[in-house]
């Protein structure tokens, strides 16, 4: 019950964020955005034709009404139809979001697990050669553009100039084998790029924790190193770790990996968003923005609840 009322209050405090995000994107995309009337009407249009198109696009309504319409769409979770294909946006999301999750999830999990593991290892050997090796590799990994990684991995793993092990592009989940063959290269690329950043972040969090007084106490009472790092220190580091992981979830789920999906031609939400950006398909963009903001508010709530679960000093107030 306490949890429930806390959740309600927390969600309520998310409203200004949602309003802010929608307002900013509405102002940019719609208020200051391009007038699409003349893209849609034919040559030498009559005034009636123009008016009809404008009414269809809602341009005849005042801006305030159009923004309130947007808010109504969010509350009812009904974002209308795509301007370019006419497809129901809800159907579009239901079709593409699972694809995006399927593409991004393995890389996301692996990238963070390996990041924590390597971060622990580097922190444990701080200043000695395993640390230098890991951090050196992380610096190299961080310095290679995502784009280059994708192209290079495609050449090396998927093209006839390299190992030619996986399909060049495309997507299929007809069988588990298909899934593996299509998801491997995107996953490897994601892990490669994320690992450098993650390892650095997790190592610095862990190293910071090792300088705390309670770690010296633990050593003064004979706690073995393995237990010290994997239990005592790690539990104290969970708050920044959880924060980092949780807050990247909305961007992984809703906007997907736009670059990966458009490069590999994977029909996920990222590709849809990219196409919508290129064609200026506002209803889709508005839906993506709104959903990201809502997800962030929910994630914030979940994160707070998880904080209490890992740190007794945090209370739900």
């Amino acid at each position: 019950m306490e949890l429930f009322s806390y959740s309600l209050r927390k969600l309520a405090t998310g409203i200004p964020l949602i309003i802010g995000v929608t307002l900013v994107s509405f102002l940019l995309m719609v208020y200051f955005g391009p007038d699409k009337t003349f893209e849609l009407v034919g040559k030498n249009p009559t005034q009636e034709q123009i008016d009809e198109i404008r009414a269809q696009l809602g341009y005849d309504q005042p801006m305030v009404v159009r923004y309130l319409d947007y808010l109504r769409e969010i509350v009812t979770l009904d974002f209308g139809n795509s301007e370019s294909t006419g497809e129901r946006i809800n159907a579009l999301l239901a079709r593409t979001i699972p694809v995006s999750i399927a593409v991004a999830l393995p890389g996301f999990i692996l990238g963070n697990l390996l990041g924590v593991g390597l971060g622990l290892l580097a922190a444990f050997y701080r200043g000695r050669w395993p640390d230098k090796m890991i951090m050196g590799s992380a610096a190299i990994g961080m310095s290679i553009s995502f784009l280059i990684v994708i192209i290079a991995f495609q050449i090396i793993l998927s093209s006839s100039y390299g190992l030619n092990l996986f399909p060049v592009r495309g997507w299929s989940v007809d069988s588990f084998g298909d899934y593996v063959s299509y998801v491997t290269v995107p996953t490897l690329a994601t892990v490669f790029v994320a690992l450098g950043y993650n390892t650095r972040f997790y190592r610095s969090v862990i190293v910071e924790e090792t300088t705390r007084d309670h770690v010296r106490t633990a050593r003064a009472f004979g706690v073995p190193s393995l237990q010290l790092y994997c239990k005592l220190i790690l539990k104290n580091c969970l708050i920044p770790i959880i924060t980092r992981i949780m807050f990247s979830i909305p961007f992984v789920v809703i906007s997907g990996s736009l670059l990966i999906e458009s490069y590999f031609g994977i029909p996920g939400i990222g590709k849809v968003t990219y196409d919508a950006i290129i064609t200026g398909d506002q209803p889709i963009l508005k839906a993506v923005v709104a959903l990201t903001a809502i997800m962030l508010v929910v994630v914030q709530l979940l994160t707070d609840i998880m904080y209490r679960w890992v740190d007794p000093r945090v209370s739900l107030k």
Partner: protein, 303 residues
């Protein structure tokens, strides 16, 4: 003159020149070999970019100087692209583009973050802080690429500015990291007793913020500026690749975009030239930034 006076000094100060924290930081940086090497590489890139800017080299980046996909030769060091432009010139020219984006975004985003972060931190808990925090939260919640596209939309009608829509989008999103860092630091610093002392002397609030507090975050800002520089360069490449970035000019992102079809046909020069130059700059800058951070870390500098 009081009794407990001069006797205190004999073992006091050394005769060496006064040392600021910067002098100490410089001393430490000089002894960091990786830092010095990476700094040298960064300087090399700066030289290249300056040369392009002054018109010393890579002036022919847009000329059709040869045939399609010519291999590496004395005339074309990295060969030519699909329409016969010199890849070496184009790659060198792109260095200037990168620095332009990197410097503009790093300087302006860090400055904006410093000012807004300092104000939010100093007045933490007030409506001003709430407003700035809300703005940070909002801008952080809009997917980056969408934001760039939206800004580009908005500025379409103003041609003089529209070619900077990428810069503006980056500044508007990248200041947030600096802003949060500075805000956190200022919240800590404003509790320091030297700030109380300034209040007790009647120093005006904005003088306290900008003369007493903000200079003590300078090391954070400098490091954050280098990090933003790298982020801007990397984003520029991806945005240009996606067609949302540089137009009417040359950039490594555009070269990679050109090459994405070529590589499947087995022509790698465009891709390699852009990637290697980009990697070199980003790597050198990352290492430089790390060394700078170590050198300016007050925990090790102060004692």
């Amino acid at each position: 003159m009081n009794a407990a006076a001069e006797e205190l000094d004999p073992v006091g100060l050394s005769d060496a020149a006064p040392e600021s924290l910067w002098t100490k930081g410089l001393y430490k940086f000089r002894r960091d070999r990786v830092g010095m090497w990476s700094f040298a590489v960064v300087l090399l890139y700066v030289g290249i970019a300056l040369g392009v800017w002054l018109g010393f080299w890579a002036t022919g980046w847009a000329d059709l100087a040869g045939g399609k996909w010519e291999p590496v030769s004395g005339a074309h060091w990295f060969g030519t692209n699909i329409i016969g432009q010199d890849i070496f010139d184009r790659a060198i020219y792109s260095t200037k583009t990168s620095f332009e984006v990197g410097l503009v975004v790093a300087v302006l985003a860090t400055a904006l973050g410093a000012i807004l972060g300092a104000i939010a931190g100093f007045f933490s808990g007030s409506w001003l802080d709430e407003l700035i925090l809300w703005l940070m939260g909002v801008l952080d919640s809009i997917p980056f690429l969408l934001f760039v596209a939206a800004i580009a939309y908005t500025l379409q009608s103003i041609p003089e500015i529209s070619k900077y829509s990428m810069h503006i989008a980056m500044i508007v999103t990248f200041w947030i990291t600096a802003g949060r860092l500075v805000r956190g630091e200022v919240i800590k610093l404003k509790e320091m007793e030297y700030v109380d002392a300034a209040h007790a002397l009647g120093v005006p609030e904005y003088t306290i913020i900008f003369r007493h507090i903000l200079p003590n975050t300078a090391h954070i800002l400098l490091v954050q500026a280098t990090i933003t520089f790298v982020a801007a360069i990397k984003s520029e490449v991806i945005l240009s690749f996606l067609g949302l970035g540089v137009k009417d000019s040359m950039s490594w992102g555009l070269m990679i975009s050109e090459s994405s079809q070529e590589v499947l046909a087995g022509f790698f020069n465009n891709f390699l030239a852009a990637s290697v130059l980009l990697f070199g700059l980003v790597m050198a800058f990352n290492l430089f930034s790390d060394a700078l951070q170590d050198a300016l870390d007050p925990r090790t500098v102060a004692d």
